[in-house]
Amino acid sequence: MAKQSSSSPPAIKLSGISKSFGPVQANKDIDLVVEKGSIHGIIGENGAGKSTLMSILYGFYHADSGTIAINGKEMKIPDSQAAIAAGIGMVHQHFMLVDNFTVLENVILGAEGGAILNRGIAKAKTELQRLEDEYSLDVDIDTLIEELPVGLQQRVEILKALFRNADILILDEPTGVLTPAEADHLFRIFRQLRDEGKTIILITHKLREIMAITDSVSVMRRGEMVATRKTSETSVEELAELMVGRRVLLRVDKGEANPGEDKLVVENLTVKDERGVVMVDDVSFSVKAGEIVGIAGVAGNGQSELMAAISGIMRAETGRVLLDGKPIHVTGHADPALLRQRGMAHVPEDRHHMGLVLPFSEKENSILGYQNDETYTSGQFLQMAAIDADARAKIKQYDIRPPNPDLKASSFSGGNQQKIVLSREMERDPVVLLVGQPTRGVDVGAIEFIHKRIIEMRDAGKAVLLVSVELDEIRSLADRTLVMFAGKIVGERGPEASEGELGLLMAGVTDNDGAEARQ
């Protein structure tokens, strides 16, 4: 660890920063000191004001009051240009890249080095090559952004910041889109940058990351900075409590499973994507009433396609799926609406694109897929009063905030949006519940609630199929875990399986490989 002498001024010193958006105070009188050459974490639930604070530092928003000092020098940051000039680089949660530009064009945008591009481009190419080599940030600079996986897009964002000679690098939720291996790679880069004297601010709500990588950590709650700790002197439990403002149960309490008969049976299912690539390869398994079967795996190994095929969204090539003993026409025109009637509830992986219609109100969203049900409709007309009452009941039961059924779905935080989807799917008393990435982009308090609800569904005798890329989530919820790799199920483990064991399976090291290695 490259500790600077205590006499050098801090890289960043924020004093009394406040910022309101209309009636909402996003930041209240915030003080923050970040030492030079350190990795500083900022955690807080969604909507705690982390991103706003960093956007102020990056000149994207203007603080209503307060001062900013960079390297001991007090300065104004009226726009992003000033922030870049002060040596600040930011990797936003939603990447700020032009999709149909090449990597190179994206990197030089705003730092072209002259009115005619040719001159700047030659220089930029050499510099980029140096940066890529130095930080093992390999990416082909002539590829279009839209052709790159998200992990590589993030590298482009980091290259952009380094290309502009950033000394202070702010990263907003950088690991949300990464596989564990990619996240590890990213952390290695962070350490290298820190050891070179650069300062890194990491915004996240993943406590494990904070403990693994940061030197110090600040906690935000409801627009206020509630604590700053040295990472070595704090614990996950303390941080979680500071974040949420109350004690949080990080381990899920759950009793023994009571499996009944098979409710969902999948036999020899094969699914190809639109390019004709086999994404699900001859997969068979079953889920019993009263158990949670988890499907673990690195994103992109066929889990999404498996869920899509079972729920009737994607057509399978071959195979058979039985719902409560009766077949689903997965190789033909399985109708998702019909499947819902037959008792298959589906919490899709991507709630923004498949789970919700964001510009619709909460109550409209709460009947999506069930809008023809006679509770909500009579003839051609929606029963608005019944829908409203139903939505209010769910809001209460699932503690959805703000408790306003007329608000647009897009106005809710990630956790509350997920609760809207969950309440819709769970309250229909399904036979089988398909859940994809239930806590992606969801804050700690809501995660606890969502996990509890999933277990309650199991205890109520539902067959639950859970797909998640968060290994922790699988391990704490699933009664049985299937690991998918390259479209196949490469192993099945009980609840006692260790993280290392599952991790090996996720990397494609199968039982047979292991047996050979031992011999």
Binding site: S80, D99, L109, N118
Partner: protein, 322 residues
Amino acid sequence: MEFLYNLDVLNSTIRLSTPLLLAALAGLYSERAGVFDISLEGKMLGGAFAAGAAAFVFNSAWIGLFAGVSLSVLLALLHGYACITARGNQIVSGVAINFIVAGIAILLGQSWFGLGGRTPQLSGPERFREITLPGAEALADVPIIGWLYSGILSGQAILVYIAFLAVPFTWWVLFRTRFGLRMRAVGENPAAVDTAGISVTWARYRAVMICGVLCGIAGAYLALGLSAGFVKDMTAGKGFIALAALIFAKWKPVNVMFAALLFGYLEAVGIRMQGKSMPFIGEVPVTAIQALPYVLTVVLLAGFIGKAIPPKAGGIPYVKER
């Protein structure tokens, strides 16, 4: 059938393509920067009126051109203010400009010149004359090359040459300069431009102003080159055909030229088909030919040339999130 490819038709194809080309390139700048512009028509019409009026009053085609461009740029700035600064609806603003210009040009024309909304007939230095390129006479008898050079290339007004030179220039600006890079970026993802420390507003205004300049030239060519004065509704939907050409060309400069030439050719043929009888079909109504560019755009876009994807941020005013 000879009228489909004779010298006259090809010659007028070039001339009729010119306003389409200029207007489509104008739209290209604006839309590449994320500001949809259906007021190409109105700006062209305004440019034509101002050019016709000023050329008559000052007895100079060049002053006419300057006046046409100035008015068109003012209209572009109005559209820019509505779309960029006031974050209004870009389609509504465009429609409004089209209507305002169509009405005001006639109103002012009538009150100034009393000719029922027309400007007086222009002649001599008030118009852009045909330029005979060097050696055109000498080459006239050489087969093909001479035919092309002296028959088609030579003998056009200067604005025609400007329009066709604007094609490679636009390509170069778009893909080889900092200005072009930023302009394209601002039409695709303005937030990326903003976080790179560049003003989204300024980048868009510049593109919109260039759009105004090109529409102004297109209008001036209509009034001072193609015709001899401004006539009521003289753009006759050319601004919309230019938009169709732009979409058809997928917002690419060289494609825009070919699209403009194609639509110009259809127009030239349409004029000559009046009253002529086609084998098998008989007499084709002129309106059917005039509708061809639109029909072609719809049919071709519906599947033959693949999807035309407009700039992603087009039509959306830029607001920092939240």
